[in-house]
């Protein structure tokens, strides 16, 4: 696995020509940032994923992408209320393209939901062991636009919590549970999730971008509140922007409690979600879960940035862990 950071203006040159492109249309303007950098005929084919159950909130971003790529693209309709529908659509839309691993697959992961992104990763793992896959991630310059750090939010509440399709884990009824949460912006959601599982072991992972904690770190704010209530929770940090390093950190947490059932709840950046997905692809015992929010900050979710993270997956081997 290789990680690079490039300016958005250089992404088209870096990616070059050929292969297949998969992207997502969402309510975030960021869903257009990377795709519109590519000319319509750069790729052999384009798959645009869009959640059909709230397409009306996407401000026409799906249509913009369809217009841009024209006849070269097709839709994969997903549904956040129906994981089977999403799984089938992703598999149907991508599996055939993915089976030929000599053909590169480029995915703009920026605005997929965590759940559909993990399913997509699983499909790529089943079909080609994640060989010859390039993931692109457009980092937002700001989340929860205009709010003070302590007031920032992307989603509120926890509705249904479900295992992610393709990642049921190997759960043993005789064993105790170790829950690993990659904490997101909203500490209350972490409290809710931990409260729902009542695990024996809790590991709370906080994204840290530098050597020292910073108020810019996602999940930093409100940490003390989680810790006051779940005093026994262990804490670890991971890089929210480096899936290679994050994968190692998550894997270390998994190994810490041998003989436990392990569930990982990735709620931080998409890059760290990829890291969690890779850990679970390589370790069948790990279950991934997805906590559906009650409400999303549709109107002020993020401001598109100028920087793109490029992750090259070359078939992830277990020796790296």
């Amino acid at each position: 696995m290789l990680l690079r950071r490039v300016g958005i203006e250089n992404i088209a040159n870096l990616v070059g020509h050929g292969g297949h492109f998969v992207c997502s249309a969402s309510f975030e303007k960021r869903s257009l940032t990377i795709p519109l950098q590519f000319a319509a005929d750069v790729f052999d084919s384009v798959v645009i994923c869009e959640n059909i159950n709230h397409a009306e909130l996407h401000q026409g971003h799906g249509a913009t992408l369809r217009d841009h790529f024209g006849a070269n693209c097709r839709m994969a309709w997903l549904n956040t209320d129906n994981p089977l529908e999403t799984g089938d659509s992703l598999f149907g839309g991508i599996a055939d393209l993915a089976r030929d691993s000599s053909q590169r697959i480029v995915v703009d992961i920026s605005t997929f939901t965590h759940e559909s992104l993990l399913m997509l990763l699983r499909v790529l793992y089943i079909t080609r062991q994640c060989v010859n896959v390039t993931l692109l991630y457009s980092k937002a310059t700001e989340y929860s636009i205009g709010d003070r750090p302590e007031n920032k939010w992307l989603s509120k509440g926890v509705g249904e919590i479900r295992s992610v399709l393709g990642f049921p884990g190997r759960v043993y009824p005789s064993r105790a549970l170790h829950l690993i949460v990659l904490v997101g912006l909203e500490y209350q959601r972490t409290i809710d999730i931990v409260g729902r599982y009542e695990p024996t072991e809790i590991s709370l992972g906080y994204g840290r971008t530098g050597d020292l904690p910073s108020t810019d770190d996602i999940g930093h704010h409100g940490f003390w509140k989680v810790h006051a209530i779940y005093e026994g929770a262990r804490e670890f940090t991971f890089s929210p922007l480096d899936p290679i390093a994050a994968r190692r950190k998550i894997s270390d947490q998994v190994k810490r409690t041998d003989g436990y059932n392990v569930i990982v709840a990735p709620m931080n950046t998409k890059l760290s979600t990829i890291a969690a997905g890779l850990v679970a692809c390589e370790n069948d015992n790990v279950q991934l879960c997805y906590a559906k929010a009650l409400v999303y900050n549709y109107h002020n979710y993020s401001r598109p940035g100028e920087e793109v993270f490029v992750v090259e997956l070359e078939g992830e081997d277990r020796d790296n862990l």
Binding site: V123, V164, V171, P173, I191, A228, I263
Partner: protein, 603 residues
């Protein structure tokens, strides 16, 4: 002299499942006088919001606690409590949805559930079996070979081998059986994993076990062993809401089989149990098939019980942490505020002969002293904004019948007190911290930032137009705003009943209003109970607003409060624009708007 305090937060969450028997007995507050059916033989469904202490009750019924409590051997216990803790995502995994509408659905889910339960049974026994004599160990080994392996092989687990040496210990025998069940459970997971992205079902060639053909006979055989309790096995299914629909119906089918003499099923739910139907679509009913216990009813209708219970829980927690303080000393009220309320109370008492409304002076003091004080406070926003919610009794009232809400708030207060005092030697939480934490929690409950977002009508419009469920949430938000506002107006009025926290509908609500209240109950904004209707011809639902919102709406959370009868039409009028409706109510008075035949909200 103070004892050195433990550095641990006395109010931090400790999962009952992970408490030792000693800790459980130390922390448990006996509630079985109210919930006696739970420890009696027979199927029981125990309903209560999350955090009301259901898991703790189940933990207390487990054999290690019961042995310690009764100073008895395992075989002397009247029942064997087996905790079957259902988690959000197991045994209910997403791939199981592939089976819906197929014959395999009921069969595989029942096998899955049976293995889950059987595994927990053997784990419980392994943890509690203690030392067995040579003869007893032989008995167990025979059970393993004939009863356990024999039955599983007949159910299709033909690969099972008896790898146990003759001299295997009793714990090893029991652990082996738990491992077998673990493996059979996971055979289903592996099968399902192959269906993750495959809509067409694949053949399943593994074992298939059920309740009547495996679990019941296994339990019968176990109960005949000399060292096992001869009473029933209590399956303590914790968080039954997390089972999927078919698993719920399977469990209901088990309940309907009337096997409670050997297996009594006790299911706890957080009021979201998915179905009361069996696989054959028969409804299970209380008290015919099971006893029903509603913790919320007891906590919301029994004056004083909840307060006393929380006081006992907090006392035990403080004691365990080495803090020699009563709960009331540890959470002191704002003294100046209490003095002022007492002064107003004395005035009311003195004027009772000429102006009194209640039967006794003390009735009027309880009813009016605090509301009058709140009404007299002039904050920057509205009357009551500088009211302090500190003080043990107020904290208990604000926790609204859910112990966890009290403890979570207390844990945050303790942590904040440690941070500000810069010591672990905490002997009290200062009132300003108590008040601040409660206010923050109340604001967050009212959707925090979402509240601001919903107050922006254009944003709300896009939610309303765009998304069905968001439309409902927006209306729920408006309903809360409307009711909270009405209750505040009532509190600062001169009406005879000022402390109001509930509404009952005097007519039949339409489906939207019903869904709205149902959503509110689900999210914990309301508790639902019933009262006699206005005509005296039956009962009607009463929706009690959670007192956790008292700080947000500047309400008096103490004691039991009255209710208002409202018509659906009036509520619907207010839902569209609660601010406008509240202005109208403020001008006309709550009594005028809500008395029959009086003004409409927008007249």
């Amino acid at each position: 002299m103070e004892k050195a305090t433990d550095s641990r937060n006395p109010f931090a969450v400790r999962t009952p499942e992970d408490l030792s028997a000693n800790e459980t007995l130390g922390l448990f507050v006996d509630v079985f006088t109210d919930f006696f059916k739970i420890r009696e033989p027979g199927h029981t469904i125990l309903n209560g919001a999350r955090g009301t202490g259901k898991s703790m009750m189940f933990r207390y019924l487990q054999p290690d606690c019961q042995r310690m409590l009764r100073h008895a051997a395992l075989s002397q216990l009247p029942y064997l409590g087996v905790l079957v803790s259902v988690k959000n995502t197991y045994p209910n995994i997403t791939e199981l949805q592939r089976l819906v509408d197929s014959y395999a659905n009921a069969l595989l889910n029942e096998h899955f559930l049976a293995m889950f339960v059987a595994c927990r049974l053997f784990v419980t026994l392994a943890q509690n079996i203690g030392h067995l004599s040579a003869m007893e160990r032989r008995e167990l080994l025979t059970f393993y070979r004939r009863g356990f392996l024999g039955r599983l092989r007949r159910a299709g687990a033909t690969n099972l081998r008896d790898g146990l040496p003759e001299r295997a210990s009793s714990v090893d025998i029991l652990k082996t059986m738990a491992t077998c069940c673990d493996e059979l459970y996971n055979d289903v997971v592996v099968y399902l994993k192959n269906l993750s992205f495959q809509a067409k079902l694949l053949p399943y060639t593994g074992a298939l076990c059920g309740y009547l053909d495996l679990l019941v006979p296994l339990v019968e055989d176990l109960r005949s062993l000399s060292f096992i309790p001869h009473g029933p096995v209590y399956l303590l299914v914790d968080d039954g809401d997390y089972l999927n629909e078919i698993q719920t119906r399977i469990l209901n089918s088990w309940i309907s089989t009337r096997t409670s003499a050997s297996i009594s099923i006790k299911v706890s739910t957080a009021l979201n149990y998915k179905s009361f139907y069996t696989l054959s679509r028969q409804r299970i009913d209380s008290p015919h098939d099971y006893s029903e216990v509603n913790m919320n009813d007891i906590y919301t209708s029994s004056k004083g019980k909840y307060l006393g219970r929380v006081e006992e829980i907090v006392r035990k927690r403080l004691e365990l942490s080495g803090i020699e303080r009563t709960p009331r000393d540890f959470f002191p009220p704002d003294e100046a505020q209490e003095d002022e309320i007492n002064r107003i109370g004395a005035e009311i008492k003195a004027a009772w002969k000429s102006e009194g409304r209640g039967h006794r002076p003390s009735d009027d003091v309880v009813r009016y002293a605090r509301p009058k004080y709140i009404a007299g406070l002039k904050g920057t926003r509205k009357a009551g904004s500088s009211y302090s919610y500190a003080g043990f009794e107020q904290l208990v009232h604000v926790s609204s019948g859910v112990v966890r809400f009290f403890l979570d708030a207390a844990a945050l207060m303790y942590s904040e007190e440690v941070a500000r005092s810069q010591t672990n030697h905490i002997i009290a939480i200062r009132p300003t911290i108590q008040d601040q934490v409660l206010r923050q929690q109340s604001e967050e409950l009212m959707f925090g930032e979402l509240d601001k977002m919903f107050s922006d009508q254009s944003a709300a419009g896009s939610f309303a137009a765009g998304h069905g469920s968001d439309d409902l949430k927006w209306k729920l938000h408006n309903l809360l705003k409307l009711l909270g506002g009405i209750f505040h107006q009532k509190l600062i009025s001169n009406d005879s009943e000022r402390r109001v926290f509930s509404v009952a509908l005097s007519d039949e609500p339409d489906s939207e209003l019903r869904s709205l209240f149902r959503l509110g109950v689900r999210f914990g904004y309301f508790q639902e109970t019933t009262i006699g209707n206005k005509d005296g011809t039956g009962r009607t639902p009463l929706y009690v607003l959670t007192r956790r919102l008292a700080p947000y709406f500047f309400l008096d959370p103490t004691g039991f409060a009255g209710y208002l009868f409202v018509t659906s039409d009036k509520l619907r009028e207010g839902l569209a624009n609660p601010d406008q409706a509240l202005r109208r109510i403020k001008k006309a008075g709550v009594g005028k708007v809500f008395d029959e035949g009086q003004l409409h909200l927008f007249e």
